[in-house]
């Protein structure tokens, strides 16, 4: 009884609630700073430490590279007298042409631009939505474009076959752009416009026939137009700089894709001979460093062929890089193939498709689509690895940059060229990696 009353009085007694905590600033600039930079003692300390580190790293670099830098001078001595502790960018600027084109003659450098320009023009229609048959455009590009580019880059007497393929390539490009224009105005390709006139003769195959006829016509036209034009010969020894780097990496990555697809299909094949052959090739190449493959290509490859055969260093290197990149690409492709659910194989088989039809119509289009980001990543690493060819004496951008320091005007200019090409590589590779990440996100959301 007594206990109850005391309990009641205690219940009724006024007890103030504890104070609310003071309002934490969680919005505005102050809140943002607190959340991200200065939340707590250790966090603040960390922020200050990193900030100091950044200051210690960036300040001297900016002083050297921008504030004290010399942008125009005749030689290194002049740079040193103007500003002894600044960068001498004048040397890099003077050599810039060589960094890009190597020792390609100055007056003929338009040919390099033209060759790469044609490549870009060829690739542009692939981005168009309404154009059909992109696989054909791509394959034709991979097959024909190297001949066109080589014809322009090399010049000189190239022989009838090379001339014919060059004109074929040009004809294909012209037809491609006529098609692009027609598709967007009339919704039809040129060969589709003409095929009804050929139908009485060729029947079902009239579309193919009209395509071949038109190609032949434009090719003959090209052969006629360019018959007297002969470009001055530029030996491969004069190729260099970024130009050579892009040729080696670009050619290798395009060749690596078919090699990689074949090896990956071989690795997943049910035929033991094919499977073991592919596994051996892939694992063998992947387990050795690229530099040993390059050394092998320049020291051993001449022994592989009869010594009447003339192999130049660039061809040897490109073969080596192709095989190397192909083996790595095979693993990328295998990853893509493994991502395809088994139901796709079963479905293809149940509608009666054979092996090659299943692969090229059903599996590979999906696998390649999923692989595009990985292919871009392999391209980035190949592009970076191409600098290794400087070790075996090809004048790529790396060796060109190293050579500035032995020019008698710029003797000892080491760091500026290296920094310059580092920035160049960074811009290229970072741009490509951002692109591949964007692609990856896009592919993920469209699933």
């Amino acid at each position: 009884m007594d206990e109850q009353t005391t309990a009641k009085t205690e219940l009724l007694k006024f007890v103030p609630k504890p104070d609310r905590p003071p309002i934490v600033i969680s919005h505005g600039i102050a809140g943002w700073l607190k959340k991200h930079l200065f939340g707590g003692f250790w966090n603040t300390l960390l922020t200050i430490a990193v900030f100091t580190l950044l200051y210690l790293l960036i300040k001297p670099f900016l002083d050297w590279a921008v504030i004290n830098a010399v942008w125009s001078a005749a030689n290194r001595r002049e740079c040193m007298t103007v500003s002894p502790d600044g960068a001498c960018w004048a040397g890099v600027i003077r050599w810039f042409n060589n960094l890009i084109y190597g020792r390609y003659p100055d007056l003929l450098q338009w040919r390099v631009n033209l060759g790469f320009g044609i490549g870009i023009i060829w690739a542009l229609p692939l981005a168009l939505k309404r154009l059909k048959g992109k696989l054909q455009i791509g394959v034709a590009g991979v097959v024909l474009y190297p001949f066109v580019a080589a014809y322009i880059f090399l010049g000189g007497e190239r022989g009838d076959f090379h001339y014919l393929v060059f004109c074929l390539g040009l004809a294909y490009l012209i037809l491609l752009y006529i098609d692009v224009a027609l598709v967007h105005t009339r919704g039809k390709k040129l060969s589709q416009v003409f095929d009804r006139y050929l139908e009485p003769i060729f029947g079902k195959r009239s579309a193919v026939a009209s395509f071949i006829l038109i190609m032949a016509l434009i090719t003959v036209l090209c052969l006629y137009i360019f018959r007297g034009v002969e470009l001055e010969y530029v030996s491969i020894e004069f190729w260099g700089g970024l130009f050579l780097t892009v040729i080696i990496s670009g050619f290798s990555i395009t060749m690596a894709l078919p090699i990689g697809i074949m090896l990956a299909l071989g690795r997943r094949s049910t035929m033991p001979v094919l499977r073991w052959f592919s596994i051996a090739t892939i694992e063998l190449v992947r387990s050795v460093p690229m530099i040993t493959v390059l050394f092998m290509s320049v020291t051993m490859m001449p022994l592989f062929f009869p010594n009447t055969m003339d192999l130049n260093k660039l061809a040897q290197v490109i073969i080596a890089v192709c095989v190397f990149a192909g083996a790595y690409m095979a693993e990328t492709v295998r990853g893509g193939l493994q991502s395809i659910p088994k139901g796709q194989f079963d479905a293809a088989m149940s509608i009666g498709l054979g092996y090659w039809q299943t692969m090229f119509l059903i599996i590979l289009p999906q696998a390649l689509r999923a692989m595009i980001p990985n292919i871009v990543t392999s391209f980035i690493s190949l592009f970076k690895d191409t600098t290794l060819v400087s070790i075996i004496g090809l004048f790529d951008i790396m060796l060109m940059a190293r050579n500035i320091s032995i020019d008698k005007n710029w003797f000892g200019l080491h760091s500026e060229p290296l920094v310059a090409i580092s920035v160049l590589f960074f811009v290229f590779c970072y741009g490509m990696s951002q692109y591949s990440q964007r692609l990856e996100r896009k592919l993920n959301t469209s699933r």
């Binding site: 991200h36 930079l37 939340g39 966090n43 960390l46 922020t47 990193v50 900030f51 580190l53 950044l54 049910t270 035929m271 033991p272 001979v273 094919l274 052959f277 063998l284 992947r286 387990s287 050795v288 460093p289 690229m290 530099i291 040993t292 050394f295 092998m296 020291t299 051993m300 001449p302 022994l303 592989f304 062929f305 009869p306 010594n307 980035i380 970076k384 690895d385 600098t387 290794l388 400087s390 070790i391 790396m398 190293r402 080491h414 760091s415 290296l418 920094v419 090409i421 580092s422 590589f425 960074f426 590779c429 970072y430 990696s433």
Partner: protein, 398 residues
């Protein structure tokens, strides 16, 4: 008339059957592949034989016993120019392995730091780590190696003005000097004590782990026993007469005498590759940690795990499973990539064997085979061992 037509049809369909018989077809394709491979091999080998005959260089590995006659600038195992090409091969292998082991260790540690920094809640730290990764992995390794060698380490002051740390370590334009240990007579006892101590420590940890798993509390005898082990090792070390001393490098004339020395090229290659690979390892670590489901962290917090234990018992064991396979690949890449030190003249395998020895002997095929053979063996061994370990870790999930 009708019969013969039927027979023709039958033979036609038999032919058709044969063409569309998948097992026969696969055999035919395989036969064809074998034939092409053999043909190509025959073509290559006959050319090689012809070319070698013209160069008067018969194929064979006998040259490894002949005197090399050139000096190697830095070697961990005894070497002088009167030794054979076989010794050069070994010197190259040891140098390659030491360089890659050091890079693997340091870049993994640095990579974990970078990976964890990238996930920091502190914006400045996370962004700093991000740009560190982006910058170092988007610039070719070769440029970085040459940069560190030529711009940073070759422009250091001469030995007389070298940077010293506590007068024990010295860094100058010739290389890095540090004290080298000298093992005196009684060191065998100390060594035995140290090995015993390590074994005891491993046993102790196993026991304490088992104790923790059964009772849920850390074993209370763990720290006292650990102290006892350390005390035991220390006492043996002192009783055997402190048999370990250090030779400290001392400046004499224009160079340092005594102690150990690694050349500038080694330091530059090591620093460049450690930083380059720490960026990729950092990305791997970040991806591994991010792959853990968020619920794991929330569950750990919900049952009242303190942050350190959450990291130790929840996050790390799960992240390790995701991190280890790509990490193994990166380690293999490092072993292969260490060959890039050839560009700055560090005497590793490719430099001493594939460049100098090959130029001197002209034996391209044998030397290429030996070098590639080494890298293949190294890759296969490392990937086999680590895959075994990886399997053990992954199995625990079941």
């Amino acid at each position: 008339m009708v019969d013969s037509q039927d027979g023709r049809n039958a033979s036609k369909s038999r032919l058709k059957k044969l063409i569309y018989d998948s097992s026969l077809r696969s055999k035919a394709i395989q036969f064809f592949v074998v034939l092409v491979t053999l043909g190509a091999t025959y073509f290559l080998i006959s050319n090689i034989v012809n070319n070698l005959r013209q160069m008067e260089l018969p194929f064979g590995f006998g040259f490894v016993w002949s005197t090399a006659g050139f000096d190697v600038s830095w070697s961990l195992i005894p070497y002088d120019p009167s030794m054979s090409y076989g010794n050069v091969y070994l010197v190259g292998i040891v140098n390659t392995l030491v360089l890659s082991a050091l890079i693997i260790f340091c870049s993994t540690v640095l990579g974990f730091v970078v990976g964890i920094m990238r996930l920091s809640k502190n914006l400045l730290v996370a962004q700093f780590a991000r740009w560190y990764v982006e910058f170092f992995r988007n610039v070719p390794l070769l440029i970085q190696i040459v940069f560190w060698f030529i711009v940073v380490f070759s422009t250091l002051p001469a030995p007389r003005q070298s940077y010293g740390i506590l007068d024990l370590f010295f860094l100058n334009n010739r290389g890095f000097y540090f004290p080298s240990p000298v093992f005196e007579e009684g060191f065998l006892w100390a060594l035995i004590a140290i090995i015993l101590g390590i074994v005891a420590f491993v046993v102790l940890r196993k026991k304490s782990e088992a104790e923790r798993k059964t009772t849920g509390y850390p074993w209370r005898f763990f720290y006292p026993l650990l102290a006892a082990i350390i005390a035991f090792v220390a006492i043996v070390f002192i009783l055997s007469g402190t048999p370990l001393s250090w030779i400290i490098p001392v400046l004499q004339g224009f160079n340092f005498e005594g102690g150990s020395f690694i050349p500038t090229a080694f330091v530059a290659a090591f620093v460049a590759m450690t930083i380059y690979r720490s960026a990729s390892i950092g990305e791997t670590v970040r991806a591994g940690i991010q792959a853990i489901h968020k619920g794991q962290l929330e569950a750990a917090t919900a049952i009242g795990f303190p942050p350190v234990q959450t990291l130790r018992f929840i996050i790390i064991p799960q992240a390790a499973r995701a991190i280890l396979p790509p990490l193994i690949n990166l380690w293999l890449t490092i072993v292969k990539e260490s060959s890039l030190a050839v560009a700055i003249g560090f005497p590793e395998l490719v430099s001493v064997f594939m460049q100098t020895s090959l130029n001197q002997t002209g034996r391209a095929i044998e030397i290429v085979m030996m070098v590639m053979g080494f890298y293949m063996c190294a890759s296969l061994t490392i990937s086999f061992l680590l895959n075994q370990y990886n399997k053990r870790i992954q199995m625990q999930e079941g």
